[in-house]
């Protein structure tokens, strides 16, 4: 996978998404095209119901791609099976969610080490690296604590470590500051930007928070698709 700055890390072409009403397909979006470059923060903005989360799930290979294609580097993934998609997710993707999405049964250390284990690291190696990251980036957090013992800001920082520890080519962040206060939100924004630059990952942020525009290298506006309209309403700015 390319990790040189300004290389296209992920490319979406002519992507469609439908939902079913009374057995009839209605489009959420059609013919969407976008790209995110390594080392850049790409922002996708849109109002509620515009299909941001659906797009994110398709990009993250969690949902099917009935039409169009997605390229991770130069690899087309539309026609891949579930097992191969899972491998790509494990290797190339990092997730950050508004709800933090930490596994409650796992400790901070185990949550952080999980992506490394998914990529075939030995348990001791994974734990060692996770401890190292925790020490470097959030020295104030006890690695043995469970997520429910942490504040929202702390949980999101753990989620960021987990998203980046395996140095993925793409980091997907869905409303990453939605549950945070202003200070923590600012910290997370600057961290994402810094990480994109230092790791050379393409960070894709989906949000309706306009304050992200400032820190984004590129942003797309996704508008709700009126019924029957069959053209892309995704527009690139910057």
């Amino acid at each position: 996978m390319h990790k040189e700055a300004n290389d296209v890390a992920i490319k979406v072409t002519d992507l469609d998404r439908y939902y079913l009403i009374d057995g009839k397909q209605s489009p959420i979006y059609k013919n969407l095209t976008l790209e995110a470059k390594a080392g850049e923060v790409t922002l996708i903005m849109g109002a509620s119901g515009s299909g941001k989360s659906s797009l994110l799930r398709q990009i993250a290979l969690l949902d099917n791609i009935p039409k169009g294609d997605i390229f991770y580097g130069h690899q087309s993934v539309a026609s891949l099976g579930k097992a191969k998609k899972a491998k790509i997710r494990a290797k190339n993707l990092g997730f950050i969610f508004q709800s933090f999405a930490l596994i409650p049964e796992f400790s901070v250390l185990e949550n952080c080490a999980l992506p490394l284990l998914m990529n075939g690291s030995k348990r001791t190696e994974a734990n060692h690296k996770a401890k190292d990251y925790i020490k470097r980036f959030m020295n104030d957090i006890d690695p043995d604590k469970k997520p429910n013992e942490l504040s929202g800001g702390e949980q999101q920082r753990v989620a960021i470590i987990r998203a980046l520890i395996h140095e993925p080519s793409v980091v997907i962040a869905d409303e990453p500051t939605g549950n945070l206060d202003e200070i923590n939100a600012e910290f997370i924004k600057s961290e994402l930007k810094r990480i994109a630059k230092s790791l050379g990952s393409a960070v894709i942020i989906v949000s309706h928070d306009k304050s992200f525009i400032e820190s984004a290298d590129a942003y797309y506006q996704l508008d709700a698709c009126p019924n029957g309209l069959s053209k892309s309403l995704l527009t690139r700015y910057k």
Binding site: A90, I103, P104
Partner: protein, 402 residues
């Protein structure tokens, strides 16, 4: 992702249901092993009881013990025996006594035998005992045609025909010919008689020792002691034992015997060897049907409990499982592999429990000492395990979508 990590994660999230599955599957496997062990032992016992037995009839008088004694005392019995003996299809006629005693053997044996080593009778405290009646008598010639046994089945004494036993010489130098051994139901016993009786000085009293051959419980006693013992009966049945020449003559022989018995004016019951055999076979069939039904119900319950347990965990841990899926972990296969492995452990536990603890008990109950084949039990258990995991896999694929 490394296989051990995959399995470890599956175990971590499904510890509860997997442990329940382990216990339940071990229980069901134990039931399956036990069921096949019981039916197998029973079948073997029936086979052994009827395999080498010569075709025969038993005649018993409807009036019970007292009327049998009266009938015998009246001399009518001797006339009947002679009439029966004159029939061409009947090889021999002899009296039989069948006594059933329950859990009294140890005390009774110790009291009556005066045997020095009391602990040697421990094995008689339960199960089947073969009782052989012996008496010193000259000359030491055993007519092979008179060799006769009566087999009363499980939990009962097997008693030699007393008429014949009276003719059987208890002699240290006695060597029984192979033909006798072949004709005997308990072939090795005779060999033991000739060897182990050497050095015993209880002639006319108990000529007894315990025969360990094939783990059978056998007691050799003098005729008088047997007679005294049999008088102290719990359930006593007496009658005539008729050996016939050819099993194909059973029906014809039955008609002839019935006609002869009708002339006596007494209420006789005629039982053929085949009647007894078919009765045993019917019981065996019923046992099998019942066992199969029970196993089916258990397997169904197991699948149901497993499915519900798993659904419960899927609901409770949906969030964590979704996160794992997003990070590239496909749960289905590791969970099925873990579940299969846990099932195998349960199966192994069931095997150990059944064959270490239950098998000796079952074998003692059925007095079967042959090696039982276990292929069927393993086949059924593995099939159930595969079936459950296949259903598990289909269920998970439907529930998770991957």
């Amino acid at each position: 992702m490394r296989l051990d990590i995959k399995l470890l994660l599956a175990w971590r999230f499904f510890k509860g249901p997997l442990f329940s599955f382990f216990i339940l599957f071990a229980f069901v496997s134990c039931c399956i092993f036990s069921f096949f062990l019981i039916t197998d032992s029973y079948e073997k016992q029936v086979e052994e009881r009827f395999a080498s037995k010569q075709p025969h009839f038993t005649l018993s008088l409807g009036g019970g013990v007292s009327s049998w004694s009266d009938y015998k005392a009246s001399g009518e019995l001797e006339n009947l025996k002679r009439s029966l003996q004159d029939e061409g299809s009947i090889l021999s006629v002899s009296e039989f006594t069948k006594v059933t005693k329950w859990l009294r053997l140890k005390a009774a044996t110790a009291q009556q035998s005066g045997f020095e080593s009391a602990q040697e009778y421990d094995k008689f405290s339960s199960g089947n005992v073969t009782l052989i009646g012996l008496e010193r008598h000259f000359p030491s010639v055993i007519p092979l045609t008179e060799l006769n046994y009566y087999d009363a089945g499980a939990y009962k004494f097997k008693i030699t025909n007393l008429e014949f036993a009276a003719d059987w010489l208890m002699n240290p130098s006695l060597v029984l010919p192979n033909a006798v051994l072949d004709a005997s139901f308990f072939a090795p016993i005779s060999q033991e008689v000739s060897i182990k009786s050497v050095g015993h000085g209880y002639q006319g009293k108990i000529k007894a020792f315990i025969n360990d051959y094939n783990d059978e419980s056998i007691l050799y006693m003098g005729i008088e002691q047997i007679a005294a013992w049999l008088d102290d009966d719990d359930l006593k049945e007496e009658g005539l034992y008729l050996r016939i020449l050819d099993s194909r003559d059973i029906e014809q022989g039955k008609n002839v015997i019935t006609a002869l018995l009708a002339k006596t004016g007494e209420n006789w019951t005629v039982t053929t060897w085949l009647d007894e055999k078919s009765k045993q076979k019917s019981i065996l069939l019923m046992t099998k049907l019942l066992g199969y039904s029970l196993i089916s119900v258990l397997v169904f319950a197991l699948i149901l409990i497993l499915g519900l347990n798993q659904a419960n965990v899927f609901i409770k841990k949906a969030k964590s499982l979704n996160i794992l899926y997003m990070t590239g972990y496909l749960l289905t296969l590791p969970l099925v592999v873990t579940s299969f492995f846990v099932g195998l452990l349960g199966l192994l536990l069931a095997y150990l429990v059944t064959f270490i603890w239950l098998k000796p008990m079952i074998l003692q109950v059925f007095s079967v000492s042959t090696t039982l084949h276990q292929g069927m039990s393993w086949g059924v258990c593995i099939t159930v395990l595969l079936l459950i995991n296949l259903l598990n896999l289909i269920g998970m694929k439907n529930r998770l979508g991957y």
